[in-house]
Structures are given as structure tokens and as C-alpha cells.
């Protein structure tokens, strides 16, 4: 049997907050094939962000298994996880998470710095910015750009290493409807190019743009 790109099997995640145990995920099983565009929708506190952290190799599951491209993530070292994040996953966050003092160009270059040995870093960053329509904003700092522009810089950064999968955590949460539409347009383009897109949101109209909607509530998947 050929494995899917992402396979979660009875994944649980328990956080310890002082003396209280928080069960963020209670046995989640999900598989996403390469090239799919999937929305994960749920109220805040439902566990959808935790799920994104696990899928994004930012966090390891407490129990259960997670296979990413056939590799058991639980068995990877911190350094190997960093490498997976660097080369295989492009992150897009709700609040952009750009380095405030760095220019758009430096922000986009950042993943290349950590993948080592990349030549023509600058040119690749410029190309990536061009793809999201920001070729005129190369030397601007995040504070000099609108929210939509900042999110486009973030997408350019996510794309720079040409990862097979884009993980977006409420990418339109802080944007007006015009910018939201622009951003979603870019995601659709990327999807058409064959990228796997996983979109986390609580807005049903955004979620509806995906091929598949996964609904999560209290750490469990309620509908696939």
C-alpha cells in the first residue's frame, strides 16, 4: 500500500500546564495525499493549531504515530525535524511572523540561510517576491507594508525552498476581505502547480474553498 504524504494515526497530544493536563488532541487519524488542498476547521481551542504544529514538525505527538512522506516523525532528532521544516514545509502564519527589522528580501532569504550552500540567494528571493507580486517592495520592512503585503512576503518566504507542502494557520485571519481574496488566490495557484496545501481556519467561507474540509472539535475529528 502506498502511503499518503501525511498520515496521522491515533495521534494524541497532552500539554501540562502547571498541575493541569490539557488534552489538545485525543486520538486524531488523518491522511492527506500529495497535491490535495485540505481545510481544517474548528473553533478556537478545538485543537486545530496543535494539529498544525504536529503536522508542521514543530511539535511531536504524545502518543500515536505521524508519518511524513513515509518517515516516522517521532523518531527524528531535533536537527532532522529542523531540516524537514526547512526543506519540506512552508509555513504561513496568521500574524505573518516576519522579522520586524529585516527587509522583505532578507525575510524571504531566511530559509535559504538555514539550508546552507545556496548560491544566488538574493536572486531566488527576488524571484519569489515577484511571484507574489511584490517585486517593488523588496527593500521595504514589514512595518512599511500593509497586512496583505506582509502575508504575501510570508508566502514568498514559505515558497523559497520549493517545499511540497504549505501549512497555513489562519492566513487570512488578520486581513480585510480584498487581501484575503488575493492571498487565497495565491494558494489556489500554488495548489494548481501541484503543492499540497493545508489550511487551518475558523471561517467557513475560506474553508469551503478547499477540496476537503476536516472539522475538529475538542481534540477530535468530527467529520472528514
Amino acid at each position: 500500500m502506498s502511503r499518503s504524504m501525511i498520515e496521522l494515526d491515533k495521534v494524541t497530544k497532552v500539554y501540562r500546564m502547571g498541575k493541569v493536563e490539557v488534552h489538545a488532541l485525543r486520538g486524531v487519524s488523518l491522511s492527506v495525499d500529495a497535491g490535495e488542498m485540505v481545510s481544517i476547521i474548528g473553533a478556537s481551542g478545538s485543537g486545530k493549531s496543535t494539529m498544525l504544529n504536529v503536522i508542521g514538525c514543530l511539535d511531536k505527538p504524545t502518543s500515536g504515530s505521524y508519518f511524513f512522506e513515509g518517515v516516522n516523525v517521532s523518531q527524528l532528532s531535533d536537527n532532522q525535524l529542523a531540516e524537514v521544516r526547512n526543506k519540506k514545509i512552508g509555513f504561513v502564519f496568521q500574524d505573518f511572523n516576519l522579522l520586524p527589522r529585516a527587509t522583505a528580501l532578507s525575510n524571504v532569504e531566511l530559509p535559504l540561510i538555514y539550508s546552507g550552500g545556496a548560491h544566488n540567494r538574493r536572486q531566488r528571493a527576488i524571484d519569489s517576491l515577484q511571484r507574489v507580486g511584490l517585486s517593488k517592495r523588496v527593500d521595504h520592512k514589514p512595518t512599511e507594508m500593509s497586512g496583505g503585503e506582509q502575508q504575501r512576503v510570508a508566502i514568498a518566504r514559505a515558497m523559497i525552498n520549493n517545499p511540497p507542502i504549505i501549512l497555513a494557520d489562519e492566513p487570512t485571519g488578520n486581513l480585510d476581505s480584498k487581501s484575503s481574496a488575493d492571498i487565497m488566490g495565491i494558494f489556489h495557484d500554488l495548489h494548481r502547480e501541484g503543492k499540497t496545501i493545508i489550511l487551518i481556519t475558523h471561517e467557513s467561507d475560506i474553508a469551503a474553498q478547499a477540496q476537503r474540509i476536516v472539522r475538529i472539535s475538542d481534540g477530535e475529528i468530527v467529520s472528514l
Partner: protein, 416 residues
């Protein structure tokens, strides 16, 4: 991550907070400057003392009266010491084979008066041999002769500064001066020696025949009624013969003073090496002490770096999270923060070296009462200061850097 990129991002974040980086650096600058400046001054003091003792004459031992019953150094003090040495003792020492020159010497202070000018000088009563044992060189005129010593002539050889103070630019040769009411004729002027030994400027001196000193200026007798000698300088042929010569001197003097074998000496023999090595030891301790005090400020500078780096790690938690999410490994974060503290301590200590060098230059350009400390920034001091600075820089940077590297990417991303 390449080193160049790590360095670039370290420099960028230092530049983003110029005032803070500068102030942190200042702690390092002051620390390193203090270590280098103070230690080079201490080292200069050592050099000064060693060289002034070499100026006093080489291969010289001094014989002085000593009260065997008085405790410790008190036995050397004139209050306790019995006047045990005489001119005959000095002559007897001259017969020892390894001895080249013997100069008995008495010293005291008195006012020199020439016309309406007066000058407080150190009066030394001695023989012509003192030129050899004390390295006196004549600039003009001549030294008084052994005949003058025998005849108790009232002639005087003036030190460079004493001559200038009394006669200005006029020629003092043949002029008369008064010492304690007695008239003396100036027969010679010494060349300037520069420097001072134990606060006595060697150019503020007036040398007269020791017999004149003993009988006409400061009379002093031994218990047996002979004219007393305060100190005998004995110059030896070579430094190898010093230990043997000290034994010979002891034998001769014990015999002459009729000291039984179970009795202690009524004199002490001090070699130039003993005195200068003792003083070098003292100034060496002084140098280390200065360095240690300066080292404390270096330590404080290091704590400043650690403090700022810890604040910086907390402030930049989110940045660390972003970097980690984008694929930064622990090592990348560690190196970045370590480099920031390394740059602070390296640049700080480089500026500190320059400041320390200026400190020592200023110190060595100052002359106080003829004393000048030739402070020199020695390479070993610089190496010491830099290695301490680097160690402190790394030690103070490593803990904050480890804290940064250990941050969990999710916690870091959602911080603040």
C-alpha cells in the same frame, strides 16, 4: 548555516541596538584598558627599580653595622645599631683577592650655601673609590684624591642638580660653598644620573672626603673611640665571586671585631642582587595586585554582557521561534547569540587595548620629582588581557545562547 551568515545576522542585531551594544561594550573597554594600563605601569615600576639599582654599581655588596640583639630590621636602624665599622675595616676588606674596590661611606643631610642661595642636599662622605662602587661619572673638574682624604681637605664634588640649584648656569668649579658653617671648595661636578632610589634623587648630592665628614661635619665614634663608618660598599671582580666574597668579608670582619664563633655578627652584608630581587618581588606582587583589581572590572564587564544577552534572548523569543520554524537548528541559534557576545567582547577589548596603551603612554610621560615610570605595554600583558576578555565574553555569552537555542519553537512563536 554558514559562519558568514551567522556573523552577518549577529552584526545586524547588534547594529539594531547601537546604544545598548555600545554601553555593553564600554564595560569591556574599561576592564581591558584597566588591566593593560595598570599592569604596564606596574611593570614599568619594576623596570625602573631594577635599572636604578643597576645604576648604583654592579657586583656590589654593602656592609653595614647591625645590632645582633635587636629584632629583625630594627638591628639595622641607627638607633639600635652599634657603630661597629671603621676605616681600618674598609682597608682590610680591600685585601680580599676578589675585591676590586672598597668605598666607606657616611651620609646625612645638610644645607649647602653658596652666596645667597641654599640647597638641601644629601652629603656623602667617602673616598675616590666611591666613583667605581656607585657608578659616579664626572662631568667637569676632578674627583678629590686619596691625599685629600688623608688630609681631611674641605673639598666637595657636587651632583648635577645641586650644582645647578646653587650656581645656575655659572661655572661652580673653584667656587666656595658652606656646609654646616665650614667652607668647601667645589672641585668637580657629577654627570646627571637621573632617577631616584628610595625617594633620594641621586643628582641632589654633595660628596666630600669621608675623613672630613667624620671630623668636621657629622662626628660619630665607635665604642672604642674610632671614627665610625656607616656603610662600606665593596665591589667584586665578577658576579660569580659574590657568595665566596661574602664569606671572606664575614671572616675578615669577625676576626677584626674579635667575635667568638658562638656569637652573632655585629654587621650585615647585603648584596645588590638581594635588594633588587626583594624589591622586584614586592613590585611584582604589586603588579599582580593591580592586575587583579583591574580584572574585577573586566569581570563586571562580562556580567554586563551576560545580563544584556539574557534580556536580548527574552526580547527576541519570537524571532528565535520564527527562525526555528524556518529550519534553524539549535546550533544555528547558539552560534548566532554566541557571536553577538563574542563581537561585543572582541571589539570592546580591542578598543580597551588602545585605551590601555594611551594610559601607559600618559603614565610614562609624567615625571614626579625626578622619578619616571617607564610603563610599556608588553605583549604578554596584551595576550593575558585579551585571553581573559575572550574567556569572559564566551562564558558570559554561552548561558544566554544555550537558553535561546533550547527554546521550543511553538512556545517561542506564540510568545508576546
Amino acid at each position: 548555516m554558514k559562519f558568514r551568515d551567522s556573523l552577518a545576522s549577529a552584526l545586524k542585531s547588534l547594529a539594531a541596538n547601537k546604544l545598548r551594544s555600545g554601553l555593553t561594550m564600554l564595560g569591556m573597554v574599561i576592564g581591558v584598558a584597566a588591566v593593560i594600563g595598570l599592569m604596564s605601569i606596574g611593570r614599568g615600576a619594576e623596570t625602573m627599580i631594577t635599572s636604578t639599582f643597576e645604576d648604583l654599581g654592579s657586583n656590589v655588596v654593602w656592609v653595614q653595622p647591625h645590632n645582633p640583639d635587636a629584632p629583625g630590621f630594627a638591628g639595622l636602624s641607627p638607633e639600635f645599631a652599634t657603630q661597629s665599622l671603621t676605616m681600618d675595616d674598609a682597608e682590610a676588606l680591600a685585601d680580599i683577592p676578589s675585591v676590586v674596590a672598597v668605598a666607606p661611606s657616611n651620609t646625612n643631610y645638610a644645607e649647602l650655601i653658596a652666596g645667597n642661595k641654599s640647597f638641601a642636599a644629601m652629603i656623602e662622605g667617602s673616598t675616590p673609590a666611591v666613583q667605581q662602587t656607585s657608578n659616579y661619572t664626572l662631568a667637569r673638574g676632578q674627583f678629590f684624591t686619596d691625599r685629600s682624604v688623608a688630609k681631611r681637605d674641605t673639598v666637595v664634588v657636587l651632583g648635577d642638580n645641586a650644582a645647578k640649584e646653587l650656581f645656575g648656569s655659572a661655572d661652580p668649579l673653584g667656587e666656595r660653598i658652606k656646609i654646616k658653617g665650614k667652607r668647601f671648595t667645589v672641585v668637580g661636578i657629577l654627570e646627571s644620573k637621573g632617577g631616584a632610589v628610595m625617594g633620594i634623587n641621586m643628582d641632589d648630592i654633595a660628596i666630600i672626603p669621608i675623613t672630613t665628614f667624620q671630623t668636621k661635619i657629622f662626628a660619630q665614634q665607635t665604642t672604642s673611640g674610632e671614627d665610625a663608618v656607616e656603610s662600606i660598599s665593596v665591589q667584586l671582580a665578577s658576579s660569580d665571586s659574590i657568595n665566596g666574597a661574602i664569606e671572606d668579608i664575614e671572616t675578615v670582619l669577625r676576626k677584626r671585631h674579635r667575635i667568638d664563633s658562638d656569637e652573632k655578627d655585629d654587621f650585615v652584608i647585603v648584596s645588590q642582587e638581594q635588594v633588587s630581587s626583594m624589591l622586584t618581588q614586592v613590585t611584582g606582587v604589586f603588579t599582580i595586585f593591580l592586575g587583579a583589581i583591574a580584572g574585577i572590572s573586566l569581570l563586571v564587564g562580562g556580567i554586563g554582557i551576560m545580563n544584556i544577552m539574557l534580556v536580548s534572548v527574552t526580547e527576541r523569543t519570537r524571532e528565535i521561534g520564527i527562525r526555528k520554524a524556518l529550519g534553524a537548528k539549535r546550533r544555528d541559534i547558539l552560534v548566532q547569540f554566541l557571536l553577538e557576545s563574542a563581537v561585543i567582547s572582541l571589539v570592546g577589548s580591542s578598543i580597551g587595548i588602545v585605551c590601555g596603551w594611551f594610559m601607559s603612554r600618559i603614565a610614562s610621560s609624567i615625571t614626579i620629582s625626578g622619578t619616571n615610570i617607564p610603563a610599556v605595554v608588553a605583549p604578554d600583558i596584551v595576550v593575558l588581557a585579551i585571553s581573559v576578555a575572550i574567556v569572559i565574553g564566551i562564558v558570559s555569552g554561552i548561558y544566554p545562547a544555550i537558553r535561546a537555542a533550547r527554546l521550543n519553537p511553538i512556545d517561542a512563536l506564540h510568545y508576546g
